[in-house]
Amino acid sequence: MPIIDTDLWYRIKDGDSTALGELYDGFAGAMFSLSLEILGDRWEAEEVIQDVFSYLWRKPDAFATGKGKFSSWLLVLTRNRSIDRYRSRKRRLDRDEFDDSFGVKEDTSQSSGAEEATLSDERSHLKNAFSYLPPDQRKVLELFYFRGMNHQEISDTLELSLGTVKSRIRLGIEKLRNSLTSLRT
């Protein structure tokens, strides 16, 4: 994970705009990648990034140093904002309202997108570790984290008991955590 010093947060809190720029340069890419993965829409993902940075600038005290790392908090905030948007869009479509795209989508199958070829070792390792999770754990984690489904919704969708859903999430997360620990040791 890119190193985001908590000192940067103190400087932002003091109104130092260059610190916000430094944070953007070091970390916005990771936040944007997460948001785009959830939303699948570049313009919406860009808005999430803009909103999160604006929020941080206006209300830096929303982060508390005693309750975790600044970088983790930023990613969780980005994830939650993206999921809110994803749900809001889904609700609109579920109400049978017209999608702004009018149901006509461009065929993007030939496009490779703007995915970067280079990933940091840590990101690359995590991505591999995630892809090597047992498919049933990976599926539950995807629905939980990247689609914002709660336990009950996953249980209904995959026809699993609530206990199974929770244990698969927990096991999947533990495996990811352990895989990173092994990388560092």
Binding site: A28, G40, N80, D100, S112, G113, L141
Partner: protein, 416 residues
């Protein structure tokens, strides 16, 4: 509480899925329990790891520029809000029992006197419908591949030519159909045609595609709101009660480039209040058209290539106030003010630019349930003012009553 239960709570709290009452209890626990704080930090770490499994994507430079604009000092609106004109607006404005919610400016296509012009409106709408998915956030253009978009744009006629063709007709007078043609030709289209031409002819940026996306979306809605039989099925959706938040306006105007034909400049946004602005798409389309008209009047006359937009609520009780501000030379300001008053016709582009002001005037008459524009001008429901070298243009729009504020607003700014 068992360890597993505490860990589960910490995870659910991090992801915002813990029920509200349990969240409050967990927050109380965080204040006094080291274990709770430890497991919250762990849960956030785990989530961060999951986050980093997302494929890495490149973020454009334009986003950085927009983000850094949040750090800029806002413009001081004090002198404007204290001026005599705005005080007069405060003294005279009153809320309406039957709030106007859009659609009043619509005509049928058959009301357009010139059959060729009618065909051109329909053709233009079809072209924009086809263009829209090519600039959406999940399009190839949004991923940096402009080849398909450029191919389609090159195969169509230039939108700029289409505007010129429309303006070649005699569209003067009070005919509502003429006004609908003018609204669809002069509000959004000049900027849309600018970006479409740039993408067609030059090496575009993703920022150009994003801007074209917003313009295309707005223009389609303005066209449907102007010609009710253009696309009746979609108009039914546009007429449904669905609050539209100020965040939608902020999203598309913040840090944007705006063009009025070949004259382009930068938009700076200041304060945009948080909350709903309009009740339906058709009303939002009308509000949007007014905002574009303000921008079109200011952007060619700004002396530094910039203009500011502000969206204020409660500064005049009962209404929202859209304000556009630009630094302007005295002679430019004087000619603008004379043109707005219709006092002379010697200004280049006079008639075309006066149409922009007429469109706002029309809309104000509907919004304020008043068929005498001179009364609205006297009350300063819309107007022009010069303060300290800056020209201010504004229009006041009846606010949605506070009882609606808690309703779900279609806003792109969930953080506020």
């Amino acid at each position: 509480m068992s360890l597993d239960s505490l860990k589960q709570q910490a995870l659910d709290y991090s992801l915002g899925v813990l029920p509200k009452e349990e969240s409050l209890l967990f927050e109380a626990l965080l204040e006094q329990d080291d274990d709770a704080r430890h497991w919250l930090a762990e849960a956030q770490e785990d989530c961060a790891k999951l986050s980093l499994t997302a494929p890495s994507r490149e973020l454009g430079e334009e986003v950085r520029t927009r983000v850094m604009e949040h750090c800029q000092k806002p413009i001081d609106l004090g002198p404007f809000l204290a001026c005599e004109e705005i005080q007069r607006l405060r003294d005279n404005f009153h809320a309406f029992q039957n709030r106007y919610s859009g659609g009043g400016g619509a005509v049928d296509l058959s009301d357009v006197r010139f059959s060729k012009l009618k065909d051109e409106v329909e053709g233009n709408y079809e072209n924009l419908l086809n263009l829209f998915p090519l600039v959406a956030g999940d399009s190839r253009a949004a991923a940096g591949d402009f080849s398909n978009l450029q191919r389609i744009l090159r195969s169509q006629g230039s939108f700029t030519d289409g505007i010129q063709k429309a303006l070649d007709y005699d569209l003067r007078g009070q005919d509502p159909a003429n006004r609908s043609v003018l609204r669809t030709a002069l509000a959004t289209m000049p900027s849309l045609s600018f970006f479409a031409d740039r993408i067609r002819e030059k090496q575009p940026s993703m920022g150009d595609a994003r801007r074209l996306f917003f313009l295309c979306r707005d223009q389609l809605k303005i066209m449907r709101a102007s010609f009710r039989d253009l696309d009746p099925a979609r108009l039914v959706e546009d007429e449904k009660l669905r609050l539209h938040g100020a965040g939608l306006l902020q999203t598309k105007w913040w840090g944007a480039e705006h063009a009025y034909f070949s004259s382009n400049g930068k938009v700076r946004c200041g304060h945009f209040f948080d909350g709903p602005v309009t009740e339906r798409c058709v009303e939002f389309a009308e509000y949007d058209a007014n905002m574009y008209c303000l921008a079109n009047l200011l952007s060619p006359r700004s002396s530094d290539g910039e203009f500011h937009l502000e969206l204020l609520k409660d500064t005049v009780p009962g209404c929202t106030l859209a304000v556009a501000i630009a630094k302007m030379d005295q002679n430019q300001h004087d000619s603008l003010q004379m043109m707005l008053k219709g006092e002379h016709n010697l200004v280049p582009g006079f008639e075309q630019d006066q149409h922009l002001w007429t469109l706002i005037e029309d809309s104000m008459m509907r919004g304020h349930h008043c068929n005498r524009p001179e009364i609205l001008r006297e009350q300063q429901a819309f107007g022009c003012k010069r303060i300290n070298g800056y020209t201010y243009l504004w229009f006041a729009w009846p606010a949605i009553p506070h009882s609606h504020d808690g309703a779900e607003a279609v806003t792109s700014n969930p953080l506020q």
